[in-house]
Amino acid sequence: MNKLPELIFNESKEGKIGYSFSETEFPDDIISLDDQYRRDGQNLEDFPQLSEVEIVRHYTNLSHLNHSVDSGFYPLGSCTMKYNPKINEAIAGWEEFSAHPYAPLKLVQGNLEIMNTLEKWLKDVTGMAGFTLTPAAGAHGEFTGIKIIRAHLAAKGNPRKIILIPDSAHGTNPASAHFSGYEVKEIPSNENGILDVASLEAHLNEDVAALMMTNPNTLGVFERNIVEISQALHKNGSLLYMDGANMNAFMGIVKPGDLGVDVLHLNLHKTFSTPHGGGGPGSGPVGVTEELLPHLPVPVISKQGDLYHAAYFNKGLGRVKNFYGNFLIMVRALVYLMSIGKENLRKVAEDAVLNANYIRKNLENDLDLPYKFKSLHEVVFSDKGLNVKTLDIAKRLLDFGIHPFTVYFPLIVHGAMMIEPTETESKETLDIFIRTMKTILKEAAEDPAKLQNAPYSTPVRRLDEVLAARQLALKWEKKQE
C-alpha cells in the first residue's frame, strides 16, 4: 500500500488553495515600499499549490516511510533512542508557554521557573555548580563549553593552544574544539579502549588547555581513570571537559562533578527523552564548576526573592544563541525528570546498562568484540572475521523491521557496530533482536549476497549515495517539456 508519494511540486497545480486566513483589511495603495524592492512572485512560479486534503495525504504517506522509535526498535549507538513520552509533547504544546522571548519578565515567570527548575535538576544529577541551558544541541554545547574553558584560561592570562581528544571521540568533539580556536591533538586509547593516565601525561604540556573526554566513551566503556586524569590535568593547569552525551549510562549512579569534571554538556535529546525529530531540535546544556560560573554565556536565570530574573546582556562569554535556547525542549526535559523522579532516576541507567550487557552477552560468541572492558549503555562489535561488511548486516536488519545500530563508528573499531538499546526496550525486543542477528549471521555465512543486496522490503532498496554526491540534485527542478 505504501507508494512513494510524488514530490510536492509535482502534485501542485495552479489555483489550488491549502490555507484559510482573513483577507487584509487594507488596500494596496498604502504599500510603502519602492518598486525596486518588490517581488512579483519571481522564483515562486512553481511554489506548491495544493488543497488541504492533498497536504494531509502527502505528509501522512511520507510519515509511513519512516522508521521511528514509535514504530520499532532503534538501537542506534551513541544516540540514546529512548522512548519520547507523549505527555512531554502535550505539555510543551500548551499555548501559555509559547510567549515572546522579549516579553516583560513579570509576564513570563512560569517560563523562567521552568528553566530555573531544570537547571537545578541538572545540577543535582551532575554535581556541577551551574548550567547554561542555551546551547541548541550537543555539538553546540561542546563549542560553548570549550569557549568557557578558553575564557577562563584567558582570564587567568593564557588561553593556551591545544585540546586533547581521544581517538574514540565523536566527530563533533574535534570540530567543536577547532571552531573554538584550538588546535586538536588526538590521543590514542589503550588496548582496553580507554585512556590511561600515562599516555595522557605524555601529551600534557603548558599548551594544553583541556582534555575532551566522552564518558562513558563511545565504546560504551567507563573511563575508569577519570579521577586520576582530572588530577593530572589540573596539575598541568588544564581542564577536563566531559562529553556527557552518554550520561544515560550513569545518571543517578555517579555525578561527573564528583569525578573532577570541570565542564560538561548534556544532550536533553538523548538522556532526557526529548525527541530527535529526524535530526533535531535538541538542547545541549553545559554545566561548569564554581570557578567557571562567571564565564557562562547569557542569559543567566536566577531567582531573586519571589521573582525569577534573567540577566540577558553583557555577561560572561557573551551570547551563543538567540534568546533563551530551545525552550520548548527544556519543558519536555523537565516534564521527563519530574516523571522519573528519585525512585526511577537510577533505574534509567541500570536498565539501559543491563539491556546493553544482555545483548553483548548473547552476541559475543557470534561477533568479534574488539574491546573487552565492561560495557555500560552500549556495546560495540566489529565485522572482523565475517565475510560481509557491517553495512550489509545493517541493511539486512531493515528487512526485519529493526533499525540498525550505528555503523562504522567509533572509527577505532574496524567495521564498528555500535548497539545502544536504552532502558525503554523490553527483554522481548532484545531477544528478537538477538535472534534476528543470529539469523542474519547465519545467512551471511551461507549466502553473503543476500545481505549485500539487502534490503528487499523497504520502500526503496539500497540507495546509491555516491551517485547522490556526484549528481548533486539538491532541489527539485521543473522538467523541461
Partner: protein, 451 residues
C-alpha cells in the same frame, strides 16, 4: 514506572544470564566511593495526573497571552494552520533520528528535500541546506563560511544594523579565531540602512565579505543590489541575513540582487514563538558554495532498482567524516522545525504566502500612516519597511510609555535602548497578519490617549 518495559523477573533473568547478583556490579568500573551517591535531594516521581496539575499552575504564571503584543525583533507571531500541528506531531516524524539509514527514512528525507527547494525558491538561490540552529548561529556560520571560501582574506564586515543578538553571537563565534577580524559598517542615522559610503570605505582587499540584514534590525529594506555591487567590486562576498522570513515572499529575492549567500531565521514559517526556541536557522547560496556549507544537505539519487530516493549527501563536509576539518561542528540541528516549515509553506502555498506577506506590510503601513496624526510619537524610518518600524516617543520615557500601554493590556514592542544607546527614545514595533485592523486601531487609540 511506565517507561521501563523490563519487569523485575526480566531483570532477574538477565542478571542470571550475565552471571551477576546485583545490577550494581555492572557499574564496578565507576569509583565506588563516589558511585551510588544518596538521592535524598532529588524530588520524588510525579504521576501523570499531578504532572498536569503542576504544569497548569506554572502555565498560569505566564500572563503574556493575555496581552495584545507588537513584540518582534527576531521572533514573530504568525498564524499556524492546524494541519501543520497535526501532521508534524505524528510520531513517525517526531521520533526518528537523523536519517542515517535512508531506506527507512524517506519520509523525513523527502520532506527535507522539498524544504530545501522551497527555501531556494524563496531566496532566489541555487541550494539550501536542511537547517541550522537559528538565525543568529546561522549568521555566525555564514561568517565562517565566507572566511573559508575567501581563504586568504581575513576581515569580515558586519553591518551595525544587524540584529544585535546576531552580532553578539557572531562575536562569540569569531572571537577566538585569531586569524579572523571583524570590522563594523555603520548605518545611516536618517534611514536606518547601511551607510554605503562607510561600506565603500571599509571594504578592503582583506575583506572576505559583508553580513548585512534586510529587512534590517530597524525593519528597513536594504538595497541589496548596491551593497552587493560594492562588495563584488572588491571581490568580497555579499551575505544577506534575514531575521523575518515572512519578508521573503514580499521582497525581491536576494538571488536577483547580487547576493551570494542568504542566511537567517525561518521561525515565521510555522513555528510558535515558544519563548525563543526551537527556531529554524536556514542557509541558501549560489551553487559555488555548496561544498563549504555547514549542516545537513539532502540529495536525490536512485536505488538499485532505479527508483528515486533521497539521502544525506556531501557528508564529507561534516564532522563525522572530517572531524576538526569539517565545515562546521554541527550534528543534530533543527530537522523537525524544517519539516514544519516545509509543511507550513506547502499549506499556505504560493497564493497564501504572497497574501500573508503583503498583509504584514499593509498592517505596518496602516499604522505608519495613521500614527502621523500624533505629534508625541514619530515613526523614525517611515519608508521601505516590511512589517516592523521604529517608533520614537517624544513626550515621556520609553519605560513610562510602555508601562502605560501595558496597563491597557498592550505590549508596544521591543525598547531599542536594550541594544543601542542612541535609541533611548525608540521602540521597535512589529505588525503581522495576526493583527486585525481593530487591534491596530486599539494600539493607535491607546497611544493617542498618552498624549
Amino acid at each position: 514506572m511506565r517507561y521501563f518495559p523490563l519487569t523485575d523477573s526480566d531483570r532477574e533473568e538477565m542478571r542470571k544470564c550475565l552471571g551477576i547478583k546485583d545490577t550494581r556490579e555492572l557499574f564496578s568500573d565507576i569509583p565506588q566511593d563516589k558511585a551510588y551517591y544518596p538521592l535524598d535531594h532529588i524530588p520524588p516521581a510525579v504521576p501523570e495526573d499531578r504532572l498536569l496539575e503542576t504544569f497548569k499552575e506554572i502555565a498560569k504564571k505566564n500572563k503574556f497571552s493575555e496581552y495584545l503584543s507588537f513584540l518582534g525583533g527576531g521572533a514573530y507571531r504568525h498564524f499556524i494552520p492546524e494541519v501543520v500541528n497535526h501532521l508534524s506531531g505524528k510520531g513517525e516524524f517526531v521520533t526518528p533520528y537523523t536519517p542515517y539509514q535512508p531506506e527507512v527514512s524517506q519520509g523525513s528525507l523527502q520532506a527535507m528535500f522539498e524544504y530545501q527547494t522551497m527555501m531556494a525558491m524563496l531566496t532566489g538561490m541555487d541550494v539550501s541546506n536542511a537547517s541550522l540552529y537559528d538565525g543568529g548561529t546561522a549568521a555566525a556560520e555564514a561568517a565562517l563560511l565566507v572566511a573559508r571560501k575567501a581563504r586568504k582574506k581575513n576581515t569580515i564586515l558586519i553591518a551595525r544594523n544587524l540584529h544585535p543578538e546576531y552580532i553578539e553571537i557572531i562575536e562569540t563565534y569569531l572571537r577566538d579565531l585569531v586569524e579572523l577580524k571583524i570590522q563594523y559598517v555603520d548605518f545611516e542615522r536618517t534611514t536606518g540602512t547601511v551607510n554605503l559610503e562607510d561600506l565603500n570605505k571599509k571594504v578592503c582587499d582583506d575583506c572576505a565579505g559583508l553580513l548585512f540584514q534586510s529587512p534590517n534590525f530597524f525593519g528597513g529594506v536594504e538595497d541589496s543590489q548596491k551593497i552587493s555591487d560594492i562588495l563584488h567590486g572588491k571581490d568580497a562576498l555579499s551575505v544577506q541575513v534575514v531575521a523575518e522570513a515572512m519578508s521573503l515572499p514580499f521582497l525581491k529575492p536576494a538571488g536577483q540582487m547580487g547576493v551570494d549567500i542568504v542566511v537567517g531565521e525561518a521561525q515565521s514559517f510555522g513555528l510558535p514563538l515558544g519563548y525563543g526556541g526551537p527556531y529554524l536557522g536556514f542557509m541558501t547560496a549560489k551553487k559555488d558554495f555548496v561544498r563549504q556549507m555547514p549542516g545537513r544537505i539532502v540529495g536525490e539519487t536512485l536505488d538499485v532498482e532505479g527508483k528515486r530516493g533521497y539521502v544525506l549527501t556531501l557528508s564529507t563536509r561534516e564532522q563525522h567524516i572530517k572531524r576538526e576539518k569539517a565545515t562546521s561542528n554541527i550534528c543534530s540541528n533543527e530537522a523537525w522545525c524544517a519539516l514544519r516549515a516545509g509543511m507550513y509553506l506547502a499549506t499556505m502555498g504560493k497564493t497564501g504566502l504572497l497574501k500573508i506577506a503583503k498583509s504584514n506590510h499593509l498592517n505596518a503601513a496602516y499604522f505608519v500612516k495613521e500614527i502621523k496624526k500624533f505629534p508625541h510619537v514619530t515613526v523614525k524610518y517611515p519608508k521601505n519597511f516590511f512589517n516592523e518600524i521604529v517608533l520614537e516617543i517624544n513626550n515621556m520615557t520609553v519605560d513610562d510609555f510602555t508601562a502605560k500601554l501595558e496597563a491597557k493590556g498592550i505590549l508596544l514592542g521591543v525598547p531599542l535602548k536594550w541594544f543601542h544607546k542612541d535609541y533611548e527614545k525608540a521602540v521597535l514595533v512589529n505588525f503581522t497578519e495576526v493583527h486585525k485592523k481593530k487591534d491596530i486601531d486599539r494600539l493607535i487609540n491607546a497611544i493617542g490617549e498618552l498624549k
